[in-house]
């Protein structure tokens, strides 16, 4: 099989299509949500909406997530808290500060930035992969999680997992020729890009919206957590 031809497709046409589907899909989701509109609300506000939003972000996205005893998740399901946290940290470091990935951003955005040495990125991705396996097992054995996991949830895990492992194996030049793994990595990334707007992985964007909306509601009622 001519893997360089497959690679060309995966880095070229398919990536292009996947990227456009991703953009169109995310904008579509955003438009749908914004156009749901706000229900007219005649209750007088008891507190500051903006304050609520600020608090919600502090708690949900900036400081509190890193202080375990503030988070319910930490005590209720420590695996999700720890493995989930490590996974997200590893993922973002790898795709923002890995050299190969920075070059992708550079070609898309027109500017680049300094990157981390390969061994550091490498360890982080290894840890992120381990964390994903932890999350998978947790989902398998936790009775509540198991109950609410449909095919989409398992697919989410798989589709995020594939770029991670193929990237890791490629960097280590294991098992297959480099261009084979590069092709698989790119195909996995392309599939991920298309899958994101269709799935709950879109939380990377909507998370901030839901934080804002919850925060505003809490703030209005002066029950800011």
């Amino acid at each position: 099989m001519d893997w360089n031809a497959i690679l060309e497709f995966a880095r070229g046409t398919f990536f292009q299509v996947a990227l456009l589907v991703f953009v169109a899909g995310m904008v579509y989701r955003l438009a749908r949500i914004l156009l749901l509109g706000w229900k007219p609300n005649r209750v007088t506000a008891k507190g500051s909406r903006l304050g609520g939003v600020g608090m919600s972000f502090l708690k949900g996205a900036i400081i509190w997530p890193f202080i375990p005893w503030v988070k319910n998740t930490a005590s209720r399901n420590p695996v999700i808290y720890i493995a989930g946290g490590i996974f997200h940290f590893g993922l973002f470091t790898v795709i923002l500060l890995g050299t190969a990935h920075m070059l992708v951003w550079k070609s898309l955005l027109g500017f680049g930035w300094p990157t981390l040495p390969l061994p550091i990125v490498d360890w982080l991705s290894a840890i992120a992969i381990a964390a994903m396996i932890g999350l998978f097992i947790n989902r398998l054995i936790n009775p509540v999680l198991k109950l609410i996991s449909g095919p989409a949830e398992w697919l989410n895990l798989l589709i995020v997992f594939l770029p991670m492992v193929t990237g890791y194996i490629m960097t280590h030049h294991l098992f297959f020729r480099y261009e084979v793994l590069f092709s698989l990595h790119m195909l996995a990334v392309d599939v991920l890009l298309i899958w994101i707007p269709l799935s709950r992985i879109s939380h990377f964007m909507f998370y901030f919206f839901s934080k804002a909306i919850h925060g505003a509601e809490f703030g209005k009622r002066a029950v800011t957590p």
Binding site: D2, V21, L30, A31, A100, V104, S107, P119, Y178
Partner: protein
């Protein structure tokens, strides 16, 4: 058979027995790669130098018993760069002996004769050595519009190729153009350029890609055919495995810096001066199969990556269309145009708004139902 053997032919050319045996050693080295004179000259570490005495004996035996191998060399959509590389290669003994003394019969750039005279000569050679000559092709073959975009003596290259291929014992395509279409085939490929093996499918075609092909690799393959009367073992792209089994990256002297994440960011920064990895400057070494990093160029003096330039991937199919030469290999091949992204975004908005409107139109009562009131009362509790 009255035809003189190669050995006799060489003696006629004034070679001594001693020189002949030396040549056999060089040839054996060229085929097995390790002991080639230029590689030796570059000061290859001792552990890489094989004892090829027995191989040289085999070569000597073959040359003593085999007749000359006539070679017909055709140029189509090319720049003669592969020929240039050969004639200027720094291993004169090898190239000179293989090409001049042993074989070349017809070569457009190198032959002294020209015009109808040489065309007639070619016809005569093809007839005389039918089924015995080796055919070397340099340059791509345009097939669009019946191949009119490249003609020689009023005949299309497509026609000439088919004619010459019919009587060839072996076909060797040299350089990226003849193997994979090279520059002529680059997008949008107006002439419909193709590599030889896409056209000649009833005979094995050895591909020796590169821009140009490494002279020692070319002579090595020719020598193999000369000595063993058979083609060397080929990979899935018909490249001889001996020379194309490893990537530039596999054997790159900058590899430790790659592993350590030390990259040159520009051609004249500290990293470049320190000899760090050229990945960020667009190096295609990780996916490029060729012998540059081992045989090197100019008598083993250096090769592009060693001298500070990223590998362009010149021995891979479609390397002209594989993204910018100076753009990191991970960067997308096609950089999405802002307009395209804009269109995608607008499509998303329109679709989203459309579906939202349709939903609203479909459930008019939903909007009137006191959902809001319900919610409000719930909120009060």
């Amino acid at each position: 058979m009255t035809e003189p053997t190669i050995y006799q032919h060489l003696l006629d050319q004034g070679l001594s027995r001693r020189e002949f045996l030396k040549l056999c050693g060089v040839l054996a080295g060229a085929m097995g790669l390790r002991c080639a004179a230029p590689v030796l000259a570059s000061g290859l570490p001792a552990h890489l130098v094989n004892d090829n005495a027995s191989a040289a004996e085999a070569v000597a035996q073959a040359l003593e018993s085999k007749p000359r191998l006539p070679v017909i060399w055709l140029e189509f959509q090319d720049c003669a760069g592969c020929s240039e590389a050969l004639t200027r290669s720094q291993s004169p003994t090898l190239v000179d002996l293989v090409l001049n003394k042993i074989s070349i019969e017809y070569h457009e750039t190198l032959s002294a004769a020209a015009g109808f005279q040489i065309e007639e000569n070619k016809q005569a050679i093809m007839k005389k050595y039918a089924g015995k000559y080796a055919l070397v092709i340099e340059g791509a073959i345009p097939v669009a519009d019946d191949g009119i975009y490249c003609t020689i003596g009023g005949r299309s290259s497509l026609d000439l190729l088919k004619e010459a291929a019919a009587g060839a014992a072996a076909i060797i395509a040299t350089g990226n153009c003849a193997t994979f279409g090279g520059l002529p085939k680059a997008n949008p490929n107006p002439t419909g350029a193709k590599g030889v093996w896409e056209i000649i499918t009833d005979k094995p075609v050895v591909n020796i890609p590169g821009c140009p092909a490494i002279p020692e690799v070319f002579t090595g393959v020719l020598a193999h055919f000369l000595v063993f009367g058979a083609l060397p073992e080929l990979d899935h792209l018909n490249r001889p495995k001996t020379f194309y089994a490893e990537t530039i990256h596999d054997r790159c002297l900058r590899r430790p810096f790659y592993e350590a994440g030390k990259f040159a960011n520009t051609f004249d920064d500290e990293g470049a001066r320190q000899g760090w990895c050229l990945y960020k400057l667009g190096c295609k070494g990780p996916t490029t199969y060729n012998s540059c990093a081992t045989i090197k160029w100019q008598a083993g003096l250096s090769f592009p990556v060693q001298s500070g330039h990223p590998c362009l991937g010149c021995s891979e199919p479609n390397f002209w269309d594989g993204g910018g030469f100076y753009q990191g290999q991970s960067a997308p091949v096609i950089r999405p145009a802002l307009a395209g992204v804009g269109v995608a975004a607008i499509a998303g908005v329109v679709l989203g708004a459309g579906v939202a409107a349709a939903n609203r139109a479909q459930k008019p009562r939903d909007a009137e139902k006191p959902v809001a009131a319900q919610q409000n009362s719930a909120a009060k509790e």
